[in-house]
Point group: C2
Chain length 342, copies 2
DNA sequence: TTGAAAGCGCTAACAT
DNA sequence: ATGTTAGCGCTTTCAA
């Protein structure tokens, strides 16, 4: 029962007007008589006219589309960021085109290419974890398409990005643990080539130094992945040490749960014997017992800020000095690390 | 440093060929000499040519874009579905354009309009909870644009949809609870105008009847929202009854956690005194203690199936008889409801 | 205030 | 095997 698509031309013919007049009437151009506008609007409704963005975009030279590439649409963090992006973008009149790289550089490259073909006016991207060279990013920038990274970014002088201050987040957690009387603070670390993990680790190291604690390599566990099992493995390893830690700070929440389960099985008290903290503030942190101390990543804010940065770059096409926006993390102290309950 | 966009015309001029030849060469048309193709390809690379999808779409009369509308990009379920959608759509060569309605009909209408303007070739949508009239859906269908609902759908004869068999899921949970020896099974119900909640409730009711249990209205609590607090409220209400339930089945996971916390505070044992089940199988169900029995919703599968259904409809533009795909739920039995541990 | 006409980049008849 | 040409639906000079 498909109606034939009504176009501006259709309206024009029906009304005995020129297409240009109709076009202007529809975009509320000043030099069109009000009654003409009204007639056009009525006819548009009558014919169920829908503007064709493709045609308008082609003619005007911009598509009104904003491209987004995430490593994956799952878990808690990325959807939250996307929520912020979509909200802000649609408010600014942009359509969001979404891709996932599945943590694979090849797909990431394909995604960027495809988005450029779709004539997006900008791309917001969080790098895949397998991305080590950045030529595909340069290609985008060379085309003059604003490229904004969020959360995961390459460390280049040309990088525009919105990131969490992971260093400060990690530093703050360690500070808190020290205040709770912890002296041997262990660390679960993620893959170091991602800026976020590097910064979390450095925040941990710097905090130890600041508070006069030694960095013991035995107390740093490289997570093979970000699962509960990985955390359990790390925890078991720590417990075999001659002098086990009195706190474990995990770069991610899920491994912290793995650690917690190991501790509960062995009847080691949390936080009294070993305090625990994660990072990301996933919703489940408040559902487990004890509740898990963690660092809020401000995903929605991050998404909004990324769009805002894009909008800035979009305005000034002249040479624009790269900008990095650092969001302040917020440490959510909960039962897993809070010893002084009074 | 923005390169001037190279077009097919640019390539043609550089090579002294006609645009049509270049166009054909690039799409690997049979009637073009191999060496010509090669020259064109080389020049395309040299000039850093990127095809313009807008132009191609306009000319060919289809955009290669698939529109998706979700109530919100947050929580666990919708991102999971989107993951499946994006995966499948990109495999089929479609770009995904994403909107959220924020559970607001007005925004939902605006989203559909916008997607139609963007000339999407189909729309996958999960209805907002405030949608009660369906005219905007009919508009889409009248334009001949395939419209596929997932999870939340209007009950119309024209509805194409992929949904979970919520009735069967709920029935199965009650059956399991009965098998665990529960006799007074209470229910947390969601807003009844959404098909999913209606079906879950009916599954509960039908199961009670099947197993010879009476439906006691006192044991049905209408959730004011889907929060932990709502579940706690319902649980407290049940506990004040003269004869409280020995099982609570919540239409959603989060309220079940609220109920669990109330029970733990009062030292009521789960599952021995009161068994508990949720619905949705959110990741946190395996992180809390006891682990929460729940119903897996197959989000990724649902997304994939929705795209597949769209692809079917897309092929046959002739009159297509509406199809509804029912995904089989899977009941994940866990500690919160498992009494016979041997 | 309105109209005529060109053209965005591409594809697809229809030539040759 | 390649070229010529028209046109997708829209915006925007330029002209009236």
């Amino acid at each position: 029962m498909a109606n034939k698509q009504a176009s501006i031309t259709t309206i024009a013919t029906h009304l005995g007007l020129a297409v240009s007049t109709v076009s202007r009437a529809l975009s509320d151009h000043a030099n069109i008589r009000e009654d003409t506008k009204e007639r056009v609007r009525q006819m548009a409704i009558k014919l169920n006219y829908q503007p064709n963005h493709l045609a308008a975009g082609l003619r005007k030279g911009h598509s009104g589309i904003l491209g987004v590439v995430v490593p994956h649409i799952s878990g808690y963090f990325f959807p939250t960021v996307m929520h912020g992006i979509e909200k802000m973008a649609s408010k600014a009149g942009f359509h969001v085109m979404l891709c996932q790289s599945n943590e694979d550089v090849k797909q990431e490259r394909a995604n960027l290419k495809m988005l450029m073909n779709a004539q997006v006016e900008g791309i917001l991207i969080s790098m895949s974890s397998t991305t080590h060279d950045y030529q595909h990013f340069e290609k985008v920038q060379n085309k003059g398409i604003p490229l904004v990274f969020f959360d995961r970014m390459p460390d280049l002088p040309t990088t525009n990005a919105v990131v969490l201050d992971d260093h400060q987040g990690a530093f703050g957690v360690v500070k808190h643990l020290v205040e709770q009387g912890c002296k041997r603070i262990a660390f679960f670390s993620g893959p170091q080539h991602l800026n976020i993990n590097k910064n979390r680790f450095e925040g941990y190291v710097d905090a130890l130094e600041s508070f006069g604690l030694l960095l013991d390599p035995e107390l740093v566990f490289q997570l093979p992945n970000l699962s509960k099992a990985a955390g359990a493995e790390g925890m078991n390893q720590f417990l075999q040490l001659d002098s086990p830690p009195d706190a474990v700070f995990s770069s991610y929440d899920m491994p912290a749960v793995g650690a917690l389960e190991v501790l509960q099985e062995r009847n080691i008290r949390v936080p009294q014997d070993i305090a625990l903290s994660g990072f990301s503030n996933e919703p489940f942190t408040t559902l487990i017992s004890p509740r898990l101390t963690s660092v809020e990543q401000r995903g929605e804010l991050m998404g909004e800020a990324a769009v805002r940065l894009f909008l800035q770059m979009h305005k000034r096409t002249d040479n624009y000095s790269p900008q990095r926006i650092m969001l302040k993390p917020q440490i959510e102290v909960r039962g897993s690390s809070l010893r002084n309950l009074l």
